[in-house]
Symmetry: C2
Subunit: 353 residues, 2 copies
C-alpha cells in the first residue's frame, strides 16, 4: 500500500476533538534484534491501555511517522551510543497533534514535531516539542525535504561540501529523503547532479521528478564505467549515504580536490561491520577533503533552514518525493523495504484515516 | 656514521674551482625493486665517466642529498604515477653548487636546490633550479625544516588543520623532517604537542630538542592507553605520516570535530598494501575533517614560506634536527634505516668532504 499523495492540513485540523477519548495506544515494539537485514518478524504490533499522563506532559497523537535508515542502528543498540532493547517501543520522529495539554505554548490541535516513536500516542515534555512551520500546507514535508533529511542534505551540500557552479555531485540513495533535497540544493547552486539508484521506477523519479542531470542504475551498470562516461574529469562532490563498496568506487573516480561528505552507512546498519573505507592513499592522491556529518549538530541552524526553504517549497520550487504507508501495522514491512533500498522516496507512515 | 653537525656555508663556497675538473660521476642506481623493507642490496653504487653536458644545461655538484620516505614508492614504481626502473639513478632532491654554467641567472658557485638524484653531478635546465635562500647559513635546512619537509608541515598544520590555541596535536614520525617542523608550528600556534616515536634517544630529541609537550613511545607503551592519559578530551589534530595501525588508533581517540591530515603511509611504502583506513563510521561519529595532502601542490606558497621562516631559523627560533650520513656509499644503508623508522632526524647525505 503505497501512495504518492498526501492528506491536507485542513482535514487534519478538523478531525478530532480537543481531548483524546481513546483509551488504547497501538505501538510497534522491537521483538528481537535483527540479524543482518531486518524482517517484519523482528517487530511486534501491540495495542495496550493508554497510561495516565504525568502532570506537565503534553499528549500528542501521531499523524506521520518518519522511517529512516539510522533506526537500524538504534534497534541494533549502537546509534551514536544510544539504542533500545527488545520490548521497547521503536523510536522515531513524528508529526503529531496536541490532544491533551495545559501548557499555554502548546494548545490543543497544535501540529508538532517530536520523538513520538512508532506509536499512536506519546506524552512529551514542552521542551521536546518543535512547532511545524505554520505556513506548511503539507506537514509531512517537516519529516522529509524540510525536516531532518532536508537539513542533512543542506549540512552536507551547503555547509560541508560548499557545492557551487561546475561541481559534479554524485548522490547514492538518490531518491530517498536526503538525496532528493541534496540534488535540488546542488542544482540550485549550479552543479551537475548524478543519481545512483536502481530500477526503472526510481530512475524515472530521479530524472523526471527530482531533476537529476544523470542517473546510474547500480544494478544494471558498472558504477565505475558509468562514472567515467558521465564524469570524465572526475567527481567533485560525493555525498556518501551508503558506505562501501560504492564509497570506494566513487572515491576512485574523485577529481583532485574533491569533497566527500560521509553521512550514512546503510551496509553497516544492516550489520555488515566488515565494510571498510577507501585506502587513505586514495584520499592523499586525490587531495580529498572528507567530512563526517551528524545532522544533530545542525539543530541550531534548523530555524534558518526552515526560513529559507519552507517558502520555496510553498512556492513550488522544491519537489518532495514521499512514499506513504498507511497505519502502524504497515511500519515494519515499510522499514524492511527501506533497509533493502526498495523505497521510492522518503518513507512516511500515515496514522490518520 | 651519524653527525648532528653541519659544515659551514663559507667552507662550501671556497672549496672548489669554478669549472669541474672531475671526469667521473658516482651514482647510486636501483639494483632491483625491494620486496617489503628495502635492504642495501637493492641499490648499487657505480662510478662512471661524466657524460658531456648539453648546450644550455647547468652542471650541478651535489653537496647534500635528501632522503625521504616517499622515495620508497618511487623505487616501487608507483609514486603519484611516477617511478623508476632498476638500472636508473635513484631520484632525490639535493642542494648543489653550480660548477659549469653559461646562464646569467645561475653563475658558478650558486647554491641551488634541484632534483639531482643520488649522484655526484647532474645537469639541469635553468627552470629546474631553485635558489637556496641566500641568508641561510645552514644550506641543509633547505632540505629539512625550511625545505620540502618544512613546507609539508606548514601545509598540514597551518593551511589544512588550521592549528590554533587549545588544540592537542599528535605527530607520529615525530623527530623526522616533517614532524620536527610540524611540532614547532603547532607550538607557535599555541597548541599542545604529542610526539609518537620509539627509543630513549628519540624520546629525548622529541622533548628536549624539539620541545614536544608529551612523548609516547610506540614500542614501550600502548598507544591508545597513552592517548587516553595525555589527551582525555580527545586529539583535535592528527598529522598522519604513517598510516595504519597508528591512524586507526589515533582516529579512535579523536575529539569530536577533530582534523586529520593524511600525508604519508610508511607502511604502504614498504609494500604492505593490505593496510586500510579507519572505518568511515568513525569519521562520521567524530565529525572529523580528513584532508589529503600532497606537498607539490604548495610550490606556489614556498616563497612566502621561506620569507616567513628563514629569518626565524636564522634568529635561532626554530630547531632543526638533521641526521647526516657521509658520502653516497652511505646512502643505501641510511635510506634503509629511514624506512625502518630508525632515523633520529631528517636524513641528509653529505657529499663534500
Amino acid at each position: 500500500m503505497v501512495w504518492y499523495d498526501v492528506i491536507s492540513l485542513s482535514s487534519l485540523r478538523s478531525q478530532r476533538p480537543g481531548v483524546t477519548e481513546t483509551v488504547e495506544n497501538t505501538a510497534v515494539l522491537l521483538a528481537k534484534r535483527p540479524e543482518g537485514l531486518p524482517t517484519p518478524e523482528d517487530f511486534s504490533v501491540v495495542t495496550r491501555p493508554l497510561t495516565s499522563r504525568d502532570a506537565g506532559k503534553i499528549r500528542c497523537e501521531t499523524i506521520f511517522l518518519s522511517l529512516d535508515p539510522y533506526m537500524r542502528s538504534v534497534i541494533a543498540g549502537n546509534h551514536l551510543g544510544h539504542g533500545i532493547a527488545p520490548g521497547e517501543v521503536v523510536p522515531g520522529e513524528v508529526i503529531a497533534k496536541v490532544t491533551e495539554s495545559e501548557h499555554p505554548d502548546w494548545p490543543l490541535n497544535t501540529l508538532v514535531r517530536c520523538e513520538g516513536g512508532w506509536q499512536q500516542f506519546s506524552d512529551q515534555t514542552p521542551d521536546s516539542l518543535a512547532r511545524v512551520p505554520s505556513q506548511l500546507s503539507r506537514p509531512s514535508l517537516a519529516l522529509s525535504i524540510l525536516g531532518m533529511p532536508g537539513l542533512t542534505a543542506w549540512a552536507g551540500m551547503v555547509d560541508l561540501a560548499k557545492v557551487g557552479p561546475g561541481d559534479v555531485v554524485v548522490i547514492p540513495a538518490a531518491v530517498g529523503g536526503v538525496g532528493a533535497m541534496a540534488a535540488q540544493l546542488a542544482r540550485r547552486a549550479g552543479a551537475t547532479t548524478v543519481a545512483i539508484t536502481s530500477g526503472a521506477e526510481k530512475r524515472r523519479i530521479a530524472t523526471e521528478t527530482l531533476g537529476y542531470d544523470h542517473c546510474i542504475d547500480r544494478i544494471e551498470e558498472d558504477l565505475g564505467t558509468a562514472l567515467e562516461r558521465i564524469a570524465p574529469d572526475g567527481v567533485s562532490v560525493y555525498f556518501d549515504l551508503v558506505g562501501d563498496p560504492t564509497l570506494t568506487t566513487v572515491a576512485t573516480h574523485l577529481a583532485v580536490g574533491g569533497r566527500v561528505v560521509l553521512c550514512g552507512l546503510i551496509q553497516d546498519y544492516n550489520g555488515n561491520h566488515k565494510t571498510t573505507g577507501p585506502h587513505p592513499g586514495l584520499w592523499i592522491t586525490k587531495r580529498a577533503t572528507v567530512s563526517g556529518l551528524v545532522v544533530y549538530d545542525y539543530e541550531p541552524q534548523r530555524q534558518a533552514f526552515e526560513a529559507e526553504f519552507v517558502p520555496l517549497a510553498e512556492a513550488g520550487e522544491l519537489t518532495a518525493n514521499e512514499e506513504f504507508h498507511d497505519g502502524l501495522d504497515a511500519a515494519p514491512a515499510a522499514f524492511c523495504r527501506l533497509m533493502r533500498g526498495l523505497n521510492s522516496g522518503k518513507v512516511v507512515v500515515r496514522l490518520v484515516d
